[in-house]
Amino acid sequence: MEDMIAVEGLRKVFHTPFRRRRVEAVKGVTFTVGRGEIFGFLGPNGAGKTTTLKMLVGLIRPTSGRARILGGEPGAIDIMARVGFLPEQPYFYDYLKPTELLDTFGRIFGIPAAERRRRIDKLLDLVGLGDAKNRILRKFSKGMLQRVGIAQALLNDPELILLDEPMSGLDPVGRKEVIDLIASLKDQGKTVFFSSHILADIERLCDRVVILHKGEVRHAGTLEALLAQGDRKEILVAGTLEDGWAARTGVVAVDRIGGRVTRLLVEAGAADGVLRALLEARLEILQVSDRRISLEELFVQTAGSGPVGAKEVAG
């Protein structure tokens, strides 16, 4: 598959004034995004998502490593003509109307006047701002500014769309509209790369995801494979277990249900060994069932864990 984004060993170190302190915001991130994919970039606040995105659009220069989009350098004129970008919590000129703002961007892209007007009207209707197009942006709510931001990111009919927290500031109806919009972009053959910490949106939309934490890639791959990686078995055992069971390889958790049943949560790959051990110990196994990890659990587990190497999951 053709790489729309190729990031290799990307690092960014920020220095505080007079170089008294250095902060490594992104620590050797590597991933690729293929044509036509919806790619989710997940991570808690401060994970390095926005810094990575800014390096992808040329706002920040990497300290080391390499980022390429559409086969070229981020920020290059011919590349940015084919890219749409929505920054996090976008802000625009107070005294301009959305039509004037989009007209300026259309002029920068070199879109002819008639086509510009047609696209601006169409996009403002698409993002639900058809009735507000003659109001100055100063009077817009956060959600309305987010919609203007989405409209400007699509003005040049881009091949690659990078969205930093696109659902931020939107009400549930707005979120649903943006989700539908992103899904329709995929149907048009566009590639969408978006960062979010709203897991439901990622689960609904993305083909592949990267989970970033403290500047490092913790998980990368298809969503299905990522979640399968966390597949577990739940084993219910009659009676009480000795303390040593909790420390056994593959046992994630041990807890009591009522006074007479113990529940073991076991990694799928270790289930056979644990069951054999339970039988050898002559314990009565009441039930064995599958338990698939949710994206939320995976995310929390990632965010709560110490430094680990990136796990690439095939799929």
Binding site: T51, K54, L59, Y93, D94, Y95, I136
Partner: protein
């Protein structure tokens, strides 16, 4: 010109945007009101002058007021507009479009130059109107003097844009005003250097500092021809054209330096 400034289309788009945004800004409207107030005060001051000095005061104070207000607009807008774009992160959207950072700076500069031209036109109408109301004859070369005033403000704008490409708004404002004050009084240094006595004649180090200042600072006194206007000394359009070239040279230098800094800047 295309290679020098980038794409005229993209520069024009930013200039147009800057002009619309700045002209609707309340700060600009406030400055317009201040301009009218100054013109009114020049009329009041002229009332205090001796009868035969009234025309001189009206011409002198009026042109001075317009020049000062143009510089105030140049400094405030030049410093605030770039700072606001960085602070409010509107640059994130602009700089991720197919446009060079140097083109954005050039567009900002031309947009502000247009704002200064409109402000000058409005103040000039009010000033000439006040002269006519008092029955003061309109000075012959008033148009040339006003164009020179605009050129000075345009040069100050390029200085403000240069400083605001790397410094905080307060520092940018202070540095720009410093350059303006030094630039308007540079002719005094020149006089002292050619004098027969004084510290600049006897002290080598002081003379070297003065010569350096004359080399690295723009001489803004070339744009201030209030005296010539009052005394009826002709100001030729060839002089205005030469001053325009001088202004353009300095603007290109400051824009080039600002672009160099801006190109390397991270927008974190």
């Amino acid at each position: 010109m295309k290679n020098l400034l980038g794409s005229p289309r993209r520069v024009a788009a930013i200039a147009r945007n800057t002009f619309i945004e700045a002209s609707r800004n309340r700060a600009f409207i406030g400055l317009g009101i201040a301009a009218m107030g100054l013109v009114a005060s020049s009329m009041a001051i002229s009332g205090l002058a001796i009868a035969d000095q009234m025309a001189r005061v009206l011409v002198d104070f009026g042109l001075f007021s317009i020049a000062i207000l143009e510089v105030v607009i140049a400094v405030t807008m030049g410093v605030i507009l770039v700072y606001k774009e960085i602070d409010r992160k509107t640059f994130y959207v602009i700089l991720t479009k197919p446009i060079r950072r140097s083109e954005v700076l050039a567009g900002k500069f031309f947009g502000l130059a247009a704002v200064l031209a409109i402000a000058l036109a409005l103040m000039s109408v009010a000033w000439i109107g006040s002269l006519a109301l008092r029955g003061v004859p309109i000075p012959h070369d008033i148009a040339q003097a006003l164009v020179l005033t605009w050129l000075q403000a345009v040069l100050v704008t390029s200085v403000a844009l240069f400083f605001s490409s790397f410094a905080s708004p307060i520092l940018s404002g202070v540095f720009t005003l410093g350059i303006y004050l030094a630039g308007t009084t540079l002719y005094v240094l020149e006089d002292l250097l050619t004098a027969r006595k004084g510290v600049l004649v006897t002290n080598d180090a002081a003379r070297a500092v003065a010569r350096t200042a004359l080399t690295i600072l723009p001489d803004l006194s070339v744009f201030n021809l209030g005296k010539e206007l009052i005394l009826g000394i002709p100001i030729g359009w060839d002089y205005v054209a030469a001053s325009g070239v001088y202004c353009l040279g300095w603007c290109l230098l400051f824009w080039g330096l600002a672009a160099l800094i801006f190109e390397r800047r991270d927008f974190a």
